[in-house]
């Protein structure tokens, strides 16, 4: 089987359609199991009490926010070097989910921070760099949506991602350094006590759930993007005619 076949939107569209229910189903099951472990099985933290349970959502989304950006940068290389059409569409499809994950990480972090640190927001290095990451996502999405020509949008977005991904470690370390200069030892996750087995299990399952959700959301979005991009081609017209007929049969 030739995997490169799926670099063509026409053959990726049905594949994405077949894979989508599996990833979506796995995401739902894993989320249910992970949340059950997180909220019902895992013991109460003796220092933080119940509030720590937000990490079952917070940590996976923060990991995902960083990881999705790296994946997008990987697709950006494929777009710029091989001009492959599918990779550009995948980049576009992943961006909203990455931004969502960064936003969830910030939101849950604020909820956790209020009772723990006594403030909704502190200028902690991790918080600040996640905020900047969110703005990198928003910048990418703003740029590609402002460009009407699809090829120019794909390539400009890819270049922006590459410039961004080179800067991400620099931003992270500069912010960390800035923070250590301004305030002494603040509360940080690295000093958290050793985790119980069930806590770790819950977090890992939730991380897997975040992965599955991200893949499912990206596949769903990329199907729409493919149809939009290829709407003038014969196969999309045929598909449209086919689906139109089947839906009219259903209604009749």
């Amino acid at each position: 089987m030739n995997l490169f076949r799926y670099a063509a939107p026409q053959s990726f569209y049905p594949l994405a359609g077949r894979l989508l229910p599996w990833f979506a189903g796995l995401a739902a099951v894993l989320t249910a199991v992970g949340l059950y472990i997180g909220f019902a099985v895992a013991p109460t933290d003796f220092q933080q009490g119940e509030v720590y349970r937000i990490i079952f959502i917070h940590v996976p989304s923060a990991w995902m926010a960083m990881f999705v950006y790296l994946v997008m940068a990987g697709y950006a290389v494929l777009t710029l070097v091989w001009r492959s059409r599918m990779s550009a569409l995948m980049t576009r499809a992943l961006a909203p989910t990455g931004a969502l994950m960064a936003a969830i990480a910030l939101y849950t972090g604020a909820i956790w921070g209020k009772p723990t640190w006594g403030a909704w927001w502190v200028w902690d290095a991790r918080l600040t760099s996640t905020l900047i990451l969110l703005f990198l996502y928003l910048g990418y999405m703003a740029l590609v949506s402002a460009i009407e020509d699809p090829v120019r949008g794909d390539r400009a977005g890819a270049l922006l991602l590459l410039v961004g991904v080179i800067n991400v470690p620099i931003i992270y370390f500069s912010v960390r350094w800035w923070n250590t200069l301004h305030q002494g030892a603040s509360v940080s996750l690295t000093t958290a006590p050793k985790m119980a087995q069930t806590m770790l299990a819950g977090m890992l399952i939730m991380s897997l759930a975040a992965w599955m959700y991200t893949i499912a959301a990206a596949l769903h979005r990329v199907r729409t993007l493919i149809l939009d991009r290829e709407r003038h081609t014969r196969w999309v017209r045929q598909l449209h005619a086919l689906e139109g007929r089947s839906s009219s049969r259903r209604t009749s």
Binding site: L136, A142, L159, V163, I170, I171, V175, L181
Partner: protein, 224 residues
Amino acid sequence: MDSLSALRWALARDLSLALRRRADALQVLGFFVLACALFPLAIGPQREWLQRIGPGALWVAALLAVLLALPRLFETDHADGTLESMLASGQPLPALLAGKMLAAWLVTGAPLVLISPVLALSFDLPGELMPLLMLSLLLGTPILLCIGAIASALTLGLKGGSTLVTLLCLPLYVPVLVFGAGALESSMAGLSAQAHLALLGAGMLVAAVVSPFIAALALRISVE
């Protein structure tokens, strides 16, 4: 034409254009001065407060002033077709862009560096800090311009391009701001600013070498 003479040609052309349109450069400088004047008006004239926020305020104002200068980098050349001729000329595009970026820094960045000590006096910053302030801006503003050149090349000719440039640039400007203002902060705290300056200098060299190539790629994406 080799790369060096291409660079020189673009530099001389943009400098003579800037000399004939002096208002452009003066606008950026005027913005810098006014933005600095807003901080004391907002927080009050207490000297110790002004000393405390001075380095950060100067750096933020300089950063925004550079941002303000970015739309002129390519837009006018794009509007009158010069940019297309440059792309079609077969001359090394990165060299031409490096010349343009150097000219833009000389016209907008260098005046900021030169006037910064005067503004620092208005924040009552100590005189010993002036050389460090100028050096940090001298190393930092070229990086801001290099990143900005890439962003404005990517957004060339788009509706609302200048707002978009701001959104693209500001996250990437964070390290420059941290190290630039951090150099002054640590010096005022009695520490050495050497590490900050070394990082700024390294960033400036990398940006100066790499950004003309990336900006050239971005321009080709935007124009072709």
